[in-house]
Amino acid sequence: MTAPPGLQVHGLRKRFGGITAVDDASMTVASGELHALIGPNGAGKTTFIQLVSGAERADGGRITLGGVEIDGWPMHRRVTQGLARSFQISSVFPAFTVLDNIALAVQARSQGRCAIWRPVVMRAAWFDQARHILDEVGLGARSEIAAGDLSHGERRRLEIGLTVATGARVLLLDEPLAGLGADESGPVIELLQSLKDRTSVLLVEHDMDAVFRLADRISVLVSGRVIATGTPLEIRAHPEVRRAYLGESTA
């Protein structure tokens, strides 16, 4: 018996004026699976993430999370339901310390997240959980630094940390390796590997080495359509994929 699907997307569509960015795209992220979404520039990968996360409204299609239909829900409600996304360009709270950043994400899923009396600093459990997550993403030593003062690589890890700290069961990671040098991407790839045990991940990424190392399955998006889904081996051998995408980048 297989585990129930984590995330199902069926027939997703989005048009911007005359351009169809996402065209009848369907895919499934199984529970506990790391599913990579690849495709050439402009294929609609980020739009796909925007639609699934709820940042933008789809023109059509159905999205279900753990069997619950979430289309039309605002983003914050999808997060509470267990679907969180990261951003391609790090989106953090620059004036807050690194610890306070993560503690906010913990607060978001905790009882009393909008309480009006007992101070945040007295809620030690939130900060304990936040410290734990910081250790996990390798920022434990940087917890008291303002997020705005982090290096690019550190900010990428904080970005992932914020997404993980939501406690979501399905993570949408939009190019977590973007802009990282070879020495910086190694630890992040390890971090992604460690996430696989606990959560389902939909990974959009341009770094093909990382994708083929990490992914259980890969879907290929070209011109807003999913043209193939399969294991890394199957995708590597897929003729249409080679023509549309891999051929270009390995040529």
Partner: protein, 316 residues
């Protein structure tokens, strides 16, 4: 831990300030300057109102140019109640706060769907609508407004006619609300408001209902401004449409920027500085507005954290 976001008030200076404010009317009476008791009451009330706007602008990033309409809602509510004989301050003031909150809820539901300059414009537009509604309603006295036959009573055998008693009543209320504001800002809701100010998209993406949190902040600020309006009605024993005029909203914004947006005492310092400057220099010159304009310019250019941030700036 998390010290930068947690507002601490040093106990000794706070205690001294509160004690000084408490004995102020006694001192002013002793030196035979009772007129200044009324001025001090006005400063306290505006300190509260400006702080409520500071909560919106400085902590919530919601730059509202319509804050005066909540003052008006509270002031007219209190005035109508006193005239109708429901003249207990512990009734009229909460009712004024409720009126401010209700109006803020109605305006916020629409205005908070916009951002940036659109938010400024839509809050201004709503406040102007409220202004013209008040001007055109005969039951509210139209252009002339309403006069109050006397101030609301307090019970406990306190003399409602005494400026000193009024001052103390206002002081108690303002201190309670400032304590509440500090508590709120340190609480989860306050932290969420500040985080939304810095990055609303990310707040939504980690699961916070951004719109509802901002609406809560907007309503709380509206309630405090309404309460201030209710107290102003008693102070002046008169209410007029000028309380709701957009220039009033502008003045409040000047107070916040002058005092320090996003600084806990920013609204208090700004209100005190502006009102005292107007009072002091109105004898000397009729051009106080010019002087205030120049000071504001200097603050924006050289002390963006306002008077509240000046101390730290100088100390550094």
């Amino acid at each position: 831990m998390a010290s930068a976001l947690h507002i601490r008030l040093h106990p000794l200076p706070t205690l001294l300030l509160v004690a000084g404010l408490a004995v102020l009317p006694v001192v002013l009476t002793a030196v035979d300057q009772p007129f200044y008791i009324v001025l001090a009451s006005r400063v306290l009330i505006y300190a509260l109102i400006a702080s409520s706007l500071n909560l919106l602008i400085g902590y919530g990033g919601m730059v509202s140019l319509g804050h005066a309409c909540f003052i008006g809602a509270g002031a007219y509510t209190a005035a109508v109640m006193v005239r109708a004989g429901a003249d207990i301050a512990w009734l009229t003031w909460p009712a004024a706060a409720l009126a401010g909150a209700a109006l803020a809820a109605m305006i916020g539901v629409v205005a908070l769907r916009t951002r940036g300059v659109y938010f400024i414009m839509i809050t201004l537009a709503f406040a102007q609508m409220a202004y013209y509604v008040v001007v055109s309603l005969r039951v509210l006295g139209g252009d002339d407004g309403l006069t109050l036959p006397h101030r609301a009573r307090y019970g406990f055998g306190l003399d409602p006619g005494s400026d000193t008693v009024f001052y103390w009543a206002v002081l108690v209320v303002v201190l309670l609300l400032m304590t509440g504001m500090r508590q709120l800002l340190n609480a989860p809701l306050g932290r969420a408001l500040q985080a939304i100010r810095d990055n609303d998209t990310r707040m939504e993406a980690i699961g916070f209902p951004v719109f509802r949190i901002q609406l809560a902040g907007f309503v709380i600020a509206g309630a405090a401004a309404g309460l201030g309006g209710g107290m102003l009605a008693d102070l002046n024993q008169q209410v007029s449409p000028s309380l709701l005029h957009w220039t009033q909203s502008g003045t409040l914004m000047v107070m916040v920027i002058l005092g320090g947006a996003g600084r806990f005492l920013g609204g208090v310092l700004g209100a005190a500085a502006l009102l005292l400057a107007q009072e002091l220099f109105s004898d000397v010159t009729t051009h106080t507005a010019l002087g205030i304009g120049l000071v504001l310019l200097a603050v924006v250019l050289f002390a963006p954290a306002g008077l509240a941030g000046l101390w730290r700036q100088v100390a550094r």
